[in-house]
Subunit: 248 residues, 2 copies
């Protein structure tokens, strides 16, 4: 019997038409499909592939054991998550050893802040693992903004809204273009940091980029109590002038 493969299919930013040809093919042919979700939710990854799965595909929802009940930086939270990834890695390994291919759905690009990497490090030297890249969520968001994010020699910095405020300010001052993820309840901190860095006036909030109900709004016009979940904050670069001695 041939060992099966674990195939992580990057899904891109949300519009199923923006899935790559290779991921699309893998998803439509999959007999076993796994995806992360919060307990009790359909989950964003599963929602993106609605209507694409084989009628008899076996679905394996991998439900996070905790979300916000425990502090994100506690030892207890980390232990619970590690056990969760250990358990699913063992189950996927077992399926591959039994000759089954399993497609694991992953929003955006799997190697860019994706949950799949926790399975990847556990499985990559154990069973065959293929990773199909995807369009990162931030790329879908800057596309939705209708403006190029970077020109010429612009520096782009990708920041998490979870960072300390002073770190955010420092990076926001040093970079031309910015993409800030994990906003949600961190949005007030992100906003204060942008203001301190003198960039708030240029910041856009993109919610559900490339999805049917996408929203694009200037961050300074967003109500302070409004903390959308699938949202990225963008500051566009304006084309840093090439320097003497530089070349394309």
């Amino acid at each position: 019997m041939t060992t099966g493969r674990i195939i992580c299919a990057g899904l891109g930013p949300g519009d199923p038409d923006l899935i790559s040809v290779r991921s699309d093919r893998a998803i439509r042919a999959a007999k076993h499909v796994a995806y992360f979700r919060k307990p009790g939710r359909q989950g964003q990854a599963r929602r993106i592939v609605d209507g694409m799965l084989l009628p008899d595909a076996v679905e394996l929802p991998m439900e996070y054991p905790v979300t916000t009940e425990l502090p994100f930086d506690s030892a207890e939270y980390n232990d619970l998550l590690s056990a969760f990834y250990d358990d699913w890695a063992a189950r996927l390994e077992g399926m591959a050893r039994a000759g089954q291919d399993v497609v694991v759905l992953c929003e955006g690009d799997p190697f860019f802040y994706g949950s799949f990497m926790h399975l990847y490090v556990r499985l990559k030297n154990v069973v065959p693992v293929d990773v199909i890249p995807g369009i990162p969520g931030m790329v879908g968001c800057w596309n939705a903004s209708g403006q190029p994010i970077t020109w010429g020699d612009d520096v782009l910095t990708v920041l998490m809204g979870t960072l300390p405020e002073e770190d955010l300010v420092h990076h926001m001052q040093a970079s031309d273009a910015l993409a800030i993820m994990k906003t949600g309840r961190n949005l007030p901190r992100v906003r204060r940091a942008l203001e301190a860095a003198g960039r708030l006036g240029d910041a856009w909030l993109v919610e559900r980029g490339t999805m049917p109900n996408q929203r694009l709004v200037r961050l300074q016009d967003v109500d302070a109590a409004d903390c959308p979940y699938f949202a990225i904050v963008l500051v566009h670069g304006h084309g840093r002038r090439p320097v003497a001695g530089g070349e394309e």
Copy 2:
């Protein structure tokens, strides 16, 4: 007569299987296909779609007027390029007004350091323009490296090798993960900056990521005289610990 559309199709990192479903469909149906290239070359964008175009598709190679004959930061170079973009914007506008749709091919993602944006700013308020995002080249490169580029709260900074050395060093010290583009003849400067920032030992050179002849090598093992063209330098993040008070 209905006005035609200018459709910029992001091509992704190089493997035609990594083009999005929407771009793939637009390219295969296109009656007019435009793409940038250096004079006398087939061009990377056109090479990616080899075998995908309709047999009677009309091809419009947009050949850059200059490449390395003039200094990149000279007024003469900028004037020549501006006239080139003005000219092609006028030709594409004329085709759209004559009712023709034109698909413009663009490597990677069109809004991420792409040449298309120079046509986009000239055309977007003049004729209908659609931009289809793509997987950026750097995403293909970190996929080819077989390692996640970012984890947890890592900061990712995207830098151009054309930047002054001291700017490079500063950003390389401040960021967890790095993607450095426009390497080529700037590679010696990039290397010196990585060394000064203490990051050279962790740097990888990815040449032609996702393409059949891709090459992955530690930058410190690359011969100093070796300046590959389609190459990106990567430094992977290792998962910055979430901070107290942060949340996912």
